[in-house]
Amino acid sequence: MSAQPMHFVSPAQFRDRVSEALADDGLRDNFRSAMNFLRDKRASQFPDPVETEALRDLGEAVRKHALAHLPALLEKLETNLQARGVEVHWAETPGEACAIIHRIATEAGATRVIKGKSMVSEEVELNHYLEARGVECLESDMGEYIVQLAGERPSHIVMPAIHKTKQDIARLFEQKIPDAGYTEDVDALIRTGREVLRERFMQADIGISGVNFAIAETGTLWLVENEGNGRLSTTVPDIHIAMMGIEKVVDTLEHAMPLASLLPRSATGQAATTYFNLITGPRRPGDQDGPRRMHLVLLDNGRTQAYADAQLRATLQCIRCGACMNHCPVYARVGGHAYGTTYPGPIGQILSPHLLGLDDSRDLPTASSLCGACAEVCPVRIPIPSLLMRLRTEANRAPGAAVAQPLAGQGASFSVGQKLVWRFWSGIYASPGRYRLLRWAATRFRWLAPRRQMGWTQHRTPLRPAARSLHDLMKARGQPR
């Protein structure tokens, strides 16, 4: 299997990496079996379609409500966090987010960071930034630890090492961890990881975590996890820094309840994860443990662009369960690395254009058959196929065309030739007379159908028009008009 170095890749090379991934039968088998496993697990958690749909309605309503009031909720969250002694930082770009964290580390004289799982930290490439400045950053989620050890990036937002077999991991541990022999026993591999990381939890100066839901009314950060590394990262080090996209806030604790039910059921097919970890502020007087200082970094990084447009705003409803990728026929074939984005799969295809601009990500919105499996399982009902089509439209739009909310990279896929083809096409199909001519020519000269038909004949025999069209047959039958 190819171990692709994943630093500094870009979605602009999507097509090359797709070819590599498709040629890798082992990789495809890994993803196929992992996807089937996760699909079955999810299905087992939603046996009652009536309850499922009602809960999805509620989840969608919660997220839509939060987004409708987003600026007010962020201020409310900030006020309540500050009242609990949490320092709140705002970052517009990945660079700003990294600099904020580096400054906190520098001021505290901290050199050792232990990380719980945080996709936002992946998004801003925090590890790379801190390592380059002499701050050691260690991932503690088993999957994240494995990909970090391999010098890769996560291929799935919930299961970062889903592309690896236990044999891959056995070899990796044997090579990289002193005294770890080769074993394919998963319990033994996990024990090895645990032992290495335990020591590091104890020594770390700073723990960094993500956030699943931020509760504005109480100033609470709600973290969802199975391993306990999230709890250790937010408990043992002296400083806890949480990172989240600005969209993750909800109004009340009650509003988070349906999301807390939908997230684990959709993500890993669990009724609940091992831990729901609700953190309200740093160590208080009288508390015996917990971090003494606590920070929250709020990241924009293109989210306000998605927010500006009433349709694209739905992108921000996402609670990062990964069900869309687990059910995506494209993701199952190419795997997470091919996308070259922090967030792969359908959610990545609709989110990345806002984070990175359409110039680099223009191949992502078209890489979908629009089958709708993603939207069918989305716990908060994001209409992913509609948003993909909208992004295709924006990529096709003339770069300078005046629109109310231009997207970064608008017109990245615009070509005069392409536009003329569609003009020509619609000129034929909107005119019965011209279409009659096309029909006549296509059926008369059917033998001239080319043997190579763009992408179609790479995997299929050529198409050839019928000798007589349905219109001809209807006319011959004397079908009423």
């Binding site: 919105p365 078209t366 890489a367 058959s369 089509m389 029909r439 296509a442 299929r460 047959l473 209807m474």
Partner: protein, 253 residues
């Protein structure tokens, strides 16, 4: 909202779709004959061309709107519009109205038309309550591939299953990953040919594992799967649901 079970009409429109028109016309004729068999008069407006979906899904809504507007003008009688394709029916019912968000008058017409659009299998079951128990009893095993639009936009997978299961002699075999896309996706199959090819490769394999003939109510999927199977030298061939139903009703295998 659309009434899925209106009273039985005596006249309907057929929207034949551009793929059927040029590539699988017999499926259109067979759909007409299935409807006529139930005593309906089937109107086929001669000026019809395409629902506009290729332009719509590829991010060219202006061109889709132009083509859709030309179709919407053709269905002025209040009859149901039967479409032998889940994806074209989905486009017409769900997306036509959204194309005219800036034109309330046209949007009202689009809504009126969209509300009368039926996918063929759904229409046969829900509106006509067809009884196919007298069809040929000769044993045959077939697979069923339901298009993603039929499954998710029109909700007519169950109707396909019901029609085939009610036929005497027909054994319906479910293939692995039955609910998964065949990889067609219109322009997707051209723009991302390799991914599309990988998906249809797996679909051909899973269908071939249970049958040599499969039935589908969407010609896009049918051409995709059949031509991929032919390319691979596999025996698997597809048939439009209308054609399969009609042949069984006429006493053939």
């Amino acid at each position: 909202m659309h009434a899925d079970r209106p009273p039985r009409p005596d006249q309907v429109y057929l929207f034949g779709t551009c793929l059927i028109d040029l590539f699988v016309p017999q499926a259109g004729v067979d759909a007409v004959r299935l409807l006529e068999r139930e005593g309906l008069t089937v109107h086929f407006p001669r000026a019809q061309t395409c629902c506009g979906q290729p332009a719509f899904t590829s991010g060219n809504p202006d061109e889709a709107r132009r083509v859709a507007a030309a179709q919407i003008a053709l269905f002025d009688q209040p009859w149901p519009i039967v479409v032998p394709s889940g994806s074209c029916a989905g486009m017409m019912r769900h997306h036509w109205p959204t194309l005219f968000d800036d034109d309330p008058k046209m949007q009202a017409r689009a809504r009126d038309v969209a509300g009368r659009v039926y996918e063929l299998a759904g229409f046969l079951v829900d509106v006509l309550h067809v009884d196919y128990s007298a069809a040929s009893a000769e044993p045959v095993t077939v697979g069923l591939h339901t298009s993603c639009s039929a499954r998710r936009e029109m909700g007519t997978r169950a109707h396909g299953v019901q029609l085939l299961s009610a036929l005497p002699g027909v054994t319906l075999d479910t293939h692995a990953n039955e609910s998964e896309c065949c990889g067609f996706g219109g322009v997707f199959s051209l723009k991302h040919a390799d991914i599309s090819g990988a998906i249809v490769h797996d679909k051909v394999a899973s269908l071939s594992a249970v049958c040599e003939r499969f039935v589908t109510a969407d010609c896009g999927c049918m051409l995709n799967i059949s031509h991929a199977a032919e390319h691979q030298g596999r025996a698997l061939r597809g048939e439009h649901l209308a054609t399969f139903l009609l042949r069984r009703l006429e006493g053939q295998a």
